[in-house]
Symmetry: C2
Subunit: 117 residues, 2 copies
DNA sequence: ATACCTGGTACAGAAAAAGATACTATTGGA
DNA sequence: TCCAATAGTATCTTTTTCTGTACCAGGTAT
């Protein structure tokens, strides 16, 4: 994709607010030390339980995992379902909105293939 | 793109390190309050001078702009060229590596079109 | 001489993010 | 009655990031 193609596409698709980068809010939604790794685990396997995620993301703390999951949930990227069994079971999975990030991740990975050794 | 397609593509292309999200380092490179907005301005217009960027990104401070540009430069996403005229002129532009992020930004914007009202 | 232009630096303080440690609620079972 | 398991909370400290303010350097115009 060239500059010019990009400008054309950007211009016609979403550049309604002059000067405000439309990519920023999306990347802000993915910011934080753990969110992307959580989404990645949920891309690979879904649903996953709290403790399962914690094991995969070791050495994450309860606090960090809880906070990240809450934010992802409030952005509607991740769904939380609680089963009131004993012991308690809570499962996390991607929402449709979350799954729709896959092409973004894939574009990033293609860039990574070229530039990360 | 579905889960399964993603897993297949990820698995074959880049998932050599088990459990480590390959998207994370790229997003980390874009983190920080100003970097994306700088890249975005340089997508729209390139090259741009220091003062010109400062005007576009107002109310950014000198410190913040300098730091962000230095990091982008050290990641080889942005190129700095200094012309020793008077008054001094310094121009910033995207490198090829930086321009190759355009498909990523475009994928993000397509997602944004669907989910950001 | 002095003030002004561009493109920065230096440094202190405020604010935000992350980490460490301890604790809670539910309830099934020994 | 007390312990274990899961899925968290609560609170404090440390670390990182961001901001505000002042200043510098080379050269030019007055």
């Amino acid at each position: 994709m060239t500059y010019e193609e990009f400008k054309q596409k950007v211009g016609s698709v979403i550049l309604t607010d002059q000067g405000n980068c439309p990519v920023t809010p999306v990347v802000q939604m993915l910011q934080g030390k753990w969110k992307l790794q959580i989404l990645y685990e949920l891309c690979i396997k879904s649903p996953m339980r709290f403790g399962e995620l914690k094991k995969m993301l070791k050495p994450i703390t309860n606090t960090a995992l809880t906070n990240a999951l809450k934010e992802l949930e409030s952005d509607d990227l991740v769904q939380r379902i609680q089963y009131n069994e004993m012991p308690l079971r809570v499962e996390y999975s991607l929402t449709q909105k979350g799954r729709d990030l896959l092409p973004v991740f894939y574009a990033i990975m293609q860039w990574g293939v070229k530039y990360i050794p």
